[in-house]
């Protein structure tokens, strides 16, 4: 009998440890040419680390890898590339101020730049995989989805045998996700192996030939038919049944306004005609007005780039408003410093965690209590023990998984970083209003649920919540009311109910009807 052809990639008992944290332990996996293999797991389960081992970013502490039957021991990404392995990282590595072709030529050219040749090749690849891209567009002018396409084209140009995609869909719009999955299928159909890291069940159902679940750095489940085994996979991922979110997140009571006779509480947030014009005089946010009652969650829907960043910037005190005012619990906060805004009981979960949400080079404890450091002063000195103790408590309450309060924040997975930031903002003293911008972006199912739970918890304790999100499903599930932004203007608002989905969709696309 003929021996079966050796698999494209074999991982045998891989282990990796970072300091005290065993990130991967005895991970074995095989991947055939021409298959899309989904790698699932909660944040911090070790998916990114596994990809990095395959791509030669880190070396494993234990175990071995084989590529088409041959021993494969990359010591740096260049080795992986040489072996025909290409990877798209979670964070893009593109030079923003130059054109797409120039970015593609960066790693590949010697001597003269053959731009025309490269552009032609790009167009050919684009036609083959159904990805349109202008080779001479500047990266900084491209949307996130287009930038990712550039990264993928960059990989495909090398004609890889194996393509590793680390959570590629976390930053994409629904249509873009569909396009990306199509590309995956086509790439696999050409005989290339694809490793796709994801949290999203719909994607697994759509493209996965096989799937592997990681939990706590170990293999928790495997499936040869992921579409059929979906429930099993999810259970393995979070080790408990995914409860119907509508049970954990209590349905929003329909608000008919406060009962008469009672004293009307000050609105958690009152925004009056907030307008932001940029340096070029373009109106980015146009007379945004909203009234948020205590205990109410208002969702701000809309395709990204329609004024959400400006709204969040002004409310957090990092961006000046051109016109308009806003108040939290009756205190005017227009133009106040972030410090004053925090002191007024406003919590802010920023969209770009790395830009303004955390200091990655500091410890978990320092980050979680960054806005309250003054409380840890004892005889003029910093009370590190208390800081550590309180951070540990917060980490337990908010399920932030790290080696300890002194661990480097940068070592945490994205989901745990987000939970840490959320924990800090939700425990803002005297919290009256919380603004959360894209709080679940890139998080896995379990973490998303936890974030919803905490946000709903805050609202039950009487805080008003403004939830800015590009995921409509998320808003429909959690919010009481939805406001749709389009080109900086409020296109419409309605109760957050699934029956409104089409109306909201039309508003998001700019139709008034």
């Amino acid at each position: 009998m003929e021996m079966a052809k050796s698999p494209l990639l074999e991982l045998q008992g891989l282990g990796k440890r970072f300091g005290a944290l065993q990130v991967l332990d005895d991970v074995s996996l095989t991947l055939q040419a021409g298959e899309v293999h989904c790698l699932l797991g909660e944040n911090g389960a070790g998916k990114s680390t596994l990809c990095n081992l395959i791509f030669g970013v880190h070396a494993p502490d234990a175990g071995a890898m084989r590529l088409s039957g041959q021993p494969y021991r990359p010591t740096r990404p260049a080795d992986a590339l040489e072996h025909g392995i290409a990877m798209v990282h979670q964070h893009f590595s593109l030079v923003p101020d130059v054109s797409v072709v120039d970015n593609l030529l960066l790693g590949q050219s010697r001597g003269l730049l053959r731009r025309a040749e490269c552009a032609a090749r790009m167009r050919e690849l684009g036609a083959r995989y159904g990805m349109s891209l202008d080779p001479f567009a500047r990266i900084s002018d491209l949307s996130v989805g287009e930038r990712q396409r550039v990264e993928i084209v960059k990989c495909l140009m090398r004609e890889p045998r194996l393509l590793v995609l680390d959570e590629p869909t976390a930053v994409l719009l629904p249509e873009e996700i569909q396009a990306l999955l199509q590309v995956c299928e086509k790439v696999a159909a050409q005989g290339c192996g694809v490793v796709l890291v994801t949290h999203k069940l719909a994607e697994i159902r759509r493209v996965a030939r096989r799937a592997t679940v990681l939990r706590g750095g170990r293999i928790a489940a495997r499936s040869e038919a992921p579409a059929r085994d979906l429930d099993l996979l999810v259970r393995a991922m979070i080790q408990r049944d995914l409860v119907d979110p509508n049970e954990t997140v209590p349905a929003a009571p329909v608000r008919t306004g406060p009962a008469t006779g009672e004293e009307v509480p000050a609105p958690a947030l009152m925004v009056d005609g907030l307008t932001v014009r940029d340096a070029q005089g373009m109106t980015r946010l146009d007379k945004f007005t909203v009234l948020l009652a205590p205990g109410e969650i208002v969702g701000v829907a809309g395709v990204e780039g329609n004024g959400q960043v400006e709204l969040a910037g002004v409310l957090s005190g990092l961006m000046p408003a051109t016109e308009g005012r806003f108040f939290a619990s009756g205190n005017e906060l227009t133009g106040q410093s972030p410090k004053a805004i925090t002191a007024a009981g406003v919590g802010i979960v920023p969209e770009d965690r790395h830009a303004s949400g955390c200091v990655s080079a500091m410890s978990v404890a320092e980050n979680m209590l960054l806005n309250r450091l003054a409380d840890y002063r004892r005889w003029g000195l910093l009370d590190r023990a208390a800081l550590r103790r309180d951070a540990q408590e917060l980490m337990r309450t908010y399920d932030v998984r790290a080696a300890g309060p002194d661990a480097a924040f940068s070592g945490l997975s994205g989901g745990n970083q987000q939970k840490a930031v959320l924990a800090r903002e939700l425990t803002t003293p005297g919290l009256r209003f919380l603004m959360a911008a894209q709080p679940t972006r890139g998080l896995d199912v379990g973490a998303v649920e936890a974030v919803y739970g905490h946000i709903v918890g805050a609202c039950q304790r009487g805080a008003g919540v403004l939830l800015i999100s590009s995921e409509l499903d998320e808003l429909l599930k959690v919010a009481h009311r939805i406001i749709v932004l389009y080109r900086g203007r409020i296109m419409g608002q309605c109760e957050a109910h699934a029956s409104q989905r089409e109306r909201i969709g039309a508003w998001m696309a700019g139709h008034t009807q």
Binding site: L318, S337, T342, L381
Partner: protein, 360 residues
Amino acid sequence: MNPTTSFLTTTMRDQRPILISLAAVAGAMLIGLLLVAALGVSIPAAVAGFAEGAWGSPYALAASINRSLVFALVGLGFVLADRANLTNVGGEGQIAVGAIAATAVCLHGGVAELPAGLGFVLPMLAACIVGGVWGGIVGVLKVKVGTNEVISSLMLSFIGVWLLYGSVQSVALLRQPMTSSSTLPESLEIPDATKLPLLTGDAGMPLHVGLPLALVLAVVVAVLLHRTVFGLRLRAVGLNALAARKAGIAIAPSVVGVFFAAGALGGLAGSMMLQGEQYSLKAGFSSGYGFDGLVVGLLARGSVLGVLAGAVLFGFIRSGGINMEMVANVPSSLVQVIQGVIIVALAGSARWMTRSGGAR
């Protein structure tokens, strides 16, 4: 974790950079000796000259230590600003304006008659304040108009140095009244009561009260950086100013404050040079101490102990080098070369120092 064991493990981990630094310095010295030999000077003579100047007599030892104090103070100021990711290269100017202020107060402030040591304390205080304001200007420019602090502090250094030069040119300012073509442009000697008291009481070993003061300040800076909320906030500001601002940390006062403190340390260094060593202000007073102090701070890589070690090293090299030139005819430029080699060797070995913690 038990704090004692954590302290111990930290100390053990800290040993590796120290060993590497020592090796780098030794290597640089070796290269220096080869250069000396290449110049045709006998190596034993050069080494003897160096040793004599650096620590050969109580006087030489004290002079070396006094030089080290100046480097240490400027280096501490550098490390302080560095914590907030700010680079203070203004030590030279801060020394100069500090020295001008101290001279003015010593000569014309009427402090010599004051009791209880105020005679020497007040000029130092004045130097701190003026140096602090000089440094604070850098912070204000940075916060208000976004001027790069490297440029502004460097330019203010030149302004400071030339202000000093100008101030000893005119009798209306600080120049001594008795001038002739033979007297250098310099101030009168400051009154005895304003000179820093000697620790030994013996002019043969002129160690002054600046030594304990600098050590206390080193401890204060170390505590400030590592054990206070202020230090942690500075760090947050340095690593991610936007996130720090978002978390309610006031950026502007931190930046201005840290530059004021760095400037004050520089000014204090200037007053110590005047009141503890030179006793009169003259053109060329600061002679590059501020820039050497900056290098000390740079090489210390944020560690106060590193500043002290670097300061001692540079202080002794400078003293030894001067004597080597006089006794063994080794040109002082060679000492500069050796100093440069040390800097390059130390900076280059930083790569192995950071790797000592294990791969991450």
